[in-house]
């Protein structure tokens, strides 16, 4: 037996020992994560839906009676009349903000789902690749000149 500075057999043994715990096996993903919460279910969005509509008139229930109440009602009506165009604009603006947030949350969920689906597909594809590689180990005694013909298709990455 020839003597070599670096013995390939020993190196192979070492490589196999070092990597004994690390084995590449086909492990298909089990599914999409169950803890994923859609943005559309976010509590802040519910709050915005409940509170986007600003009041356009004074609420008599909060004013009370008596002279103080009459004066407050008078000033309140005056204030609402003066601020009516602004409040109307503000209300429209808030309504659009809420709708925009709805749309963003919806889109966000769509993208998150698409990304998850893609990651799922890629993980599944990697698992198929691993399985395929294990099945189609190199032809150990095949002559290079002979074409074995078509084999199972490997997964497309």
């Amino acid at each position: 037996m020839e003597e070599h500075a670096l013995d390939a057999r020993e190196l192979i043994e070492r490589v196999r020992q070092d990597n004994r715990a690390e084995r590449w096996l086909p492990l298909p993903p089990t599914g999409l994560p169950g803890s994923h919460t859609p943005m559309q279910d976010d509590e802040s969005l519910y709050y915005m839906h409940r509170h986007w509509m600003l009041p356009d008139r004074l609420d008599p229930a909060v004013i009370g009676g008596g002279i103080k109440g009459r004066v407050s009602r008078l000033f309140g009506r005056l204030a609402f009349r003066v601020l009516a165009p602004y409040l109307s604009e503000e209300r429209e603006f808030l309504a659009r903000v809420v709708r925009t947030n709805d749309a963003l949350a919806h889109r966000c969920d769509e993208l998150a789902n698409a990304m998850l689906q893609r990651q799922f597909a890629e993980a599944e594809n990697d698992a198929k690749l691993a399985a395929w590689l294990h099945q189609v180990l190199p032809e150990r005694s095949a002559d290079s000149s002979a074409d074995p013909g078509p084999r199972d298709e490997p997964p497309v990455l």
Binding site: A8, R14, D143, S144
Partner: protein
């Protein structure tokens, strides 16, 4: 003047050698090895080649060789024989040549098995007996130990002539089948090309009758002067030799695996119909219509390492050539190339995708890479790098040395 060209000066009383080979003139390792042996003998003998291949019976001159094509080979029969042998080998489940215990129950003269192994109802070697009688050889060489019919015409036409067997054993397990024993028993010398073939033959016959002749391999050193332009110039790419077409599949899981695991490295995939280079920036160069043997040598000479997915099953020629360039190899476990990686410590071998990756990772260490490269180069040059010693070793069968 090369020794192969000296045959024109053969004396009139030069011996005559008949080479019986099922295949002649092909490009695979078996045909190439057969031709090398015949060429070595042609330095000091007149060579007549009888082969069962061909479309119609004919005789022609192929360089220094007089070739007789019998045109009796039947691909279906060959395939059936291979299947029978694979089934027998598989059932005994052993890759050593030692006959398993239960083989004793297997009748060597079983007519059905014999018919299958001979090649069908008609023995394809039968018409060759006439030529063999005409040639009246001083020595007969049989290429491929499975040619049971060839032995039959030898016994009939030139029973006293010495026989040299070149087993061309790709399937070591079936060598021990009783149906092949008469061939080995009749052979005076057995010429082998690899250590595993030698060990298998020696286990059957004893060491003294088995002659390791290697094969005369040479590589063109000038390819080291200029890199393959598509693969790159920095000797940093991983070369994957598929040994089969890249198209129409267009993608290989092995190359994808290396791209994913070594994203910073270039991976050059050499297929029989294309060279595809995957680069770290995902630029892919495809060069369809690739690629001559010289291009492959250039790729091997400049590669960091060579991964040969389908090494030749007789002596793994490509792997040896890669070693001759000092490029270490990574090859499938159990392949004939593993012998070169293991005996010469010129590379590593793998038994699955994970091990392939680990082997390459180990070889990315520059010290490991340099040691394996230089050791493999020494091994390949010492054992396979000399035409003269090959011719001398083969020539000994003529002198009886």
């Amino acid at each position: 003047m090369g020794r192969f060209t000296q045959v024109c000066k053969l004396s009139a009383d030069a011996p005559t050698v008949a080479v019986l080979a099922p295949h002649w003139g092909g490009t695979d390792e078996v045909c190439w090895a057969t031709r090398q042996v015949a060429g070595a003998l042609a330095c000091s003998a007149n060579i007549h080649v009888i082969t069962t291949q061909g479309k119609r019976p004919r005789q022609y001159q192929d360089g220094v060789f007089s070739v007789y094509e019998l045109a009796t080979a039947d691909r279906a029969s060959d395939r059936r024989r291979d299947l029978v042998l694979a089934a027998l080998g598989g059932s005994f489940g052993d890759t050593t040549p030692n006959p398993p215990q239960n083989l004793g129950d297997f009748p060597s003269e079983d007519a059905f098995l014999r018919k299958l192994l001979v090649g069908g109802p008609a023995d394809p070697w039968e018409p060759g007996g006439v030529h063999l009688t005409e040639i009246a050889p001083d020595l007969v060489v049989v290429a491929d130990y499975r040619q049971v019919g060839a032995l039959r015409i030898i016994e009939r036409s030139c029973a006293d002539v010495p026989l040299v067997l070149v087993p061309l054993a790709m399937d070591l397990a079936s060598m021990a089948l009783p149906v092949f024993r008469p061939m080995f028993a009749r052979a005076g010398d057995v010429l082998v090309f690899t250590q595993s073939e030698r060990d298998a033959s020696a286990a059957l016959l004893g060491v003294d009758r088995v002659r390791f002749v290697g094969l005369p391999l040479a590589v063109n050193p000038s390819v080291g002067a200029e890199p393959e332009p598509h693969a790159g110039e920095d000797r940093d790419y991983l070369l994957v030799i598929l040994g089969k077409p890249f198209w129409p599949q267009g993608s290989t899981a092995w190359a994808d695996l290396l791209r994913m695991r070594f994203p910073a490295r270039r991976v050059a995939v050499s297929a029989s119909d294309a060279l595809v280079v995957y680069k770290p920036d995902s630029v892919v160069h495809e060069s369809p219509g690739m690629k001559g043997a010289s291009d492959l040598m250039r790729l091997m000479a400049w590669a960091y390492l060579t991964v040969d997915m389908r090494p030749g099953s007789l002596f793994a020629r490509r792997s040896l050539q890669s070693l001759m360039y000092g490029t270490p190899i990574v090859v499938p476990e159990g392949s004939r190339a593993q012998e070169h990686a293991e005996t010469g410590s010129g590379g590593l071998w793998f038994d699955g995708p994970g091990e392939l990756v680990w082997c390459i990772e180990a070889m990315l260490d520059p010290e490991v890479h340099a040691a394996l490269g230089s050791q493999g180069g020494r091994y390949a040059h010492d054992r396979y790098g000399s035409t003269d010693s090959f011719v001398d070793r083969v020539g000994l069968v003529l002198s009886g040395g």
